[in-house]
């Protein structure tokens, strides 16, 4: 019971205590609540942070792995290209070496061939020598020809003069001017006079020596002729013993061209007759038919009309060659054959 009295005394205080406790609890409740919220929020924050950290770590790990993979790929590519470039450089260098050798060879052989050039220049000198020699020969030949022509011209003139002045030839009684008795031997002109034939009064026009020699070139097809003198005598020819004349002279006389006189050279028939003959020949040539042209129609009165070939023949095929071939005349046969 004592306890109950004690409790009853505490009872009046109990309500106050109870009220004070509740009030203090109420007053603390906010604070406590706030504290609880803080603690919880902090804890939640920790959890989230831990989670984020975890996520971060995972992301980093993925990215690390991915980046490593990419760079390894890139590195492999780089190595490939570097290797490729190295190979190409190597090939280029080898190609350059080959091209170097080839170009040197080609240029030395074909473009700037030193030995060929040397040979060419030597060949040119040789050729020049040959050309120079030939030209020299040609020039000499021309000069010889010219000299020969001049000499021949002079000779001809002298001979012509001698022929004109043949009367100056010396006779037995009277010595000519070129054969003076005081001379040891006669002048060469005298010898010429002795040899020359007197010039006839028939005015022979002396042909100027140049009209035909130089202009003997109608179409200039002949090359320049070499100077041909007299043909050389055959080798080892022995002079025939005896009083024979020189063979060349004999041949010259034998084959002397004919110099006919005018009477002989002219034809027998006179020009008048020749002209007449020619006219006749022309007419014969030109004449187409022989029928004279008769002036009046009365001349044709008694002419029989000639049938044309078509009208004058029998109608039908030609029998010659088919029915009969050769001509036969049985009445002329001697034997009585059928």
């Amino acid at each position: 019971m004592a306890a109950l009295v004690r409790l009853e005394t505490r009872l009046s205080r109990l309500r106050e205590e109870y009220f004070l406790k509740n009030r203090s609890v109420d007053e603390d409740r906010k604070i406590v609540y706030k504290a609880a919220v803080k603690i919880q929020s902090w804890f939640r924050g920790c959890r989230v942070r831990a989670y984020l950290r975890y996520l971060n770590k995972m992301a980093i790990s993925i990215q690390k792995w991915w980046r490593g993979y990419q760079s390894r790929r890139y590195f492999r590519k780089m190595i490939k290209t570097a290797y490729f470039i190295m190979k190409m450089n190597f090939y280029n260098e080898m190609a350059v070496r080959i091209q170097k050798r080839w170009r040197g060879y080609y240029v030395r052989k074909y473009t700037h061939n030193y030995y060929a050039l040397k040979k060419y220049l030597e060949a040119i000198s040789l050729n020049n020598e040959i050309v120079r020699n030939e030209l020299q020969e040609y020039a000499e030949m021309n000069e010889k020809k010219k000299k020969k022509k001049d000499l021949e011209k002079k000779e001809k003139e002298k001979k012509y003069k001698a022929r004109k002045m043949h009367y100056l030839l010396s006779t037995e009684q009277i010595a000519g001017i070129y054969n003076s008795p005081f001379r040891k031997f006669p002048d060469p002109m005298e010898l010429l006079l002795r040899q020359s034939k007197p010039l006839s009064h028939r005015q022979q026009q002396p042909k100027s020596p140049f009209t035909y020699d130089l202009y003997d070139w109608p179409t200039c097809k002949r090359p320049p002729a070499f100077p041909t003198g007299e043909p050389l005598p055959p080798i080892g020819r022995q002079k025939p013993q005896g009083p024979f004349r020189d063979a060349a002279e004999v041949l010259r006389q034998r084959y002397k061209p004919l110099e006919p006189t005018l009477r002989v050279a002219a034809s027998i028939s006179s020009p008048l007759e020749k002209a007449r003959e020619e006219m006749k020949r022309e007419e014969w040539r030109k004449c187409i038919h022989d029928n004279e042209f008769l002036p009046f129609s009365s001349y044709h009165k008694n002419e029989k009309y000639e049938l044309s070939i078509h009208a004058s023949e029998k109608i039908g095929k030609e029998t010659y060659g088919i029915k009969h071939f050769r001509e036969v005349q049985p009445n002329k046969w001697i034997a009585g054959k059928v």
Partner: protein, 476 residues
């Protein structure tokens, strides 16, 4: 003046005689007119003014051959003086009549007609074109084939006068087939004919490469080379002209000529002639050498340089000397070998003296200077360069010193020779602006030698030494 009036009176007297009944009088009157007009151009003008030409042209077609010859002579005489008179002849319709005369049977008439056409065509290309339009060219080609030498000569000279003006006219002549006949006629021994034929071929060949190739295809080589040995000088000259006109177009043609031995023939020709006759030959060598270095070497190998040097020394005319200088320049400008070949003949001194001589013409000076420059830029033959050091003017000097500066650094014997011959001394005496090319060359040369040697040869060294002697304190 009175003589002129008298002569004009003569023409008015002769004019009615042209219409006389007797043919001999007509012919003689025409001949007299022709002779008067030939020598005096006033009279030729008077002939044109007095309207004699239409009368002549009419009768050209009708009368006999003597009259035709005389009338053609009058036309030739009038046409030769000036282009205006030739134009007057063309305007009165003479060309057709002359072309008809070209078809005549008598060679004398053809000759007169061809000669008149040639004199008309000579003046300028319009008149030549008028002659060609009248249809003269095929008939002239026929005339060339005739046997008479005088006719051939004149037909060739007319073709040459026609084709010289322009490539089209030359092409017309070629199309008529003239080249083959002209080429055949080179073999003819007559000198004047050869002259005309060669001149005609060279007038055709000079215009273009194709025409030159056509001429070459007619197989004129090596026959043309025999013309270079002809006794007549003008034949040689025209032959050299023809070869020159062919060689100047292209390296292939020059090569062909060299292979045929043309260079040797031309060189001999130059050696044997004197005066203007040499000129085409010299120019031909220049053209051949200008194309390429192989051809130039071929010219050198054929002993081309000595005649050119003698030409340079002996000739009096400036234009021939200028041509020889130009040809030497073309030969020597390719490589050091060529320059050496030219320099060995000691011709550089002659060229320099020609350049420096005030009496030489401008053309000669210019050509000598260019030739000298071209040769010097490649010349490494020092013995020939040294004499030039002493006389050369500054613009040439820099080339010479340049060449020395190229050679001396590499050749010790040459360096020694340079010093002993007094070249180093001369180089020190040259005053050059600092920074110019000449100064650089001089520096290069000075760097080849030790300093004492350079100082020894520099001008004023002896004075400097004496000054040092004066200022020296003797060591007792």
């Amino acid at each position: 003046m009175s003589q002129r009036q008298v002569l004009q009176g003569v023409i008015s007297l002769l004019r009615p005689l042209l219409l006389d009944v007797v043919p001999t009088i007509q012919q003689t009157a025409a001949l007299a007119l022709g002779r008067l007009a030939y020598f005096n151009d006033d009279l030729a003008e008077a002939v044109v003014k007095e309207d004699i030409l239409p009368q002549l042209v009419c009768s050209l077609s009708e009368q006999n051959r003597f009259y035709k010859k005389a009338a053609a002579f009058v036309l030739r005489a009038v046409g030769k003086h000036s282009p205006q008179l030739a134009q007057a002849i063309v305007e009165c319709g003479a060309l057709e009549a002359l072309v008809i005369c070209l078809e005549d049977f008598d060679p004398g008439v053809k000759e007169g007609a061809a000669w008149a056409l040639g004199y008309i065509a000579r003046h300028n290309s319009e008149l030549s074109q008028a002659v060609v339009d009248a249809g003269a060219v095929p008939l002239l080609v026929l005339c060339i084939q005739e046997p008479e030498i005088a006719l051939k000569r004149i037909a060739a000279s007319t073709l040459s006068d026609i084709s010289k003006h322009s490539p089209e006219l030359a092409q017309t002549v070629v199309d008529a087939g003239a080249i083959a006949y002209l080429a055949q006629m080179i073999l003819n021994p007559d000198a004047k004919l050869k002259c005309q034929v060669l001149s005609a071929l060279s007038q055709i060949a000079k215009h273009s490469v194709d025409l030159a190739e056509l001429v070459v295809e007619a197989e004129i080589f090596p026959v043309v080379l025999t013309c270079m040995k002809d006794s007549d000088e003008y034949v040689k000259k025209n032959g050299a002209t023809l070869i020159r006109e062919i060689a100047k177009h292209s390296p292939e043609l020059s090569q062909f000529i060299v292979n045929a031995g043309g260079v040797a023939a031309v060189i001999d020709c130059i050696g044997s002639c004197k005066g203007t006759v040499r000129l085409p030959g010299i120019m031909m060598l220049g053209y051949v050498a200008a194309h390429s270095e192989n051809l130039s070497m071929a010219v050198i190998v054929s002993k081309g340089i000595p005649p050119l040097c003698t030409c340079l020394l002996e000739e009096h005319e400036d234009h021939i000397k200028a041509a020889a200088a130009w040809a030497l320049g073309q030969i020597g400008r390719h490589t050091p070998e060529h320059a050496r070949a030219v320099a060995e003949t000691n011709v550089l001194g002659t060229l320099l003296s020609m350049y420096m001589d005030i009496r030489s013409s401008e053309d000669l000076q210019l050509k000598a200077k260019r030739a000298l420059k071209n040769i010097l830029q490649k010349c490494t033959y020092l013995p020939a360069l040294e004499p030039l050091l002493h006389d050369a003017p500054p613009n040439i000097m820099k080339h010479i010193v340049g060449q020395f500066s190229k050679v001396l650094p590499h050749d010790s014997k040459a360096r020694r020779l340079f010093v002993t011959s007094g070249g180093l001394k001369k180089v020190q005496e040259i005053k050059a602006e600092p920074g110019s090319l000449l100064q650089e060359y001089i520096n290069t040369i000075n760097n080849c030698y030790p300093e004492e040697v350079v100082r020894y040869y520099s001008p004023g060294y002896s004075e400097m030494l004496l000054e040092r002697v004066e200022n020296y304190q003797p060591v007792l």
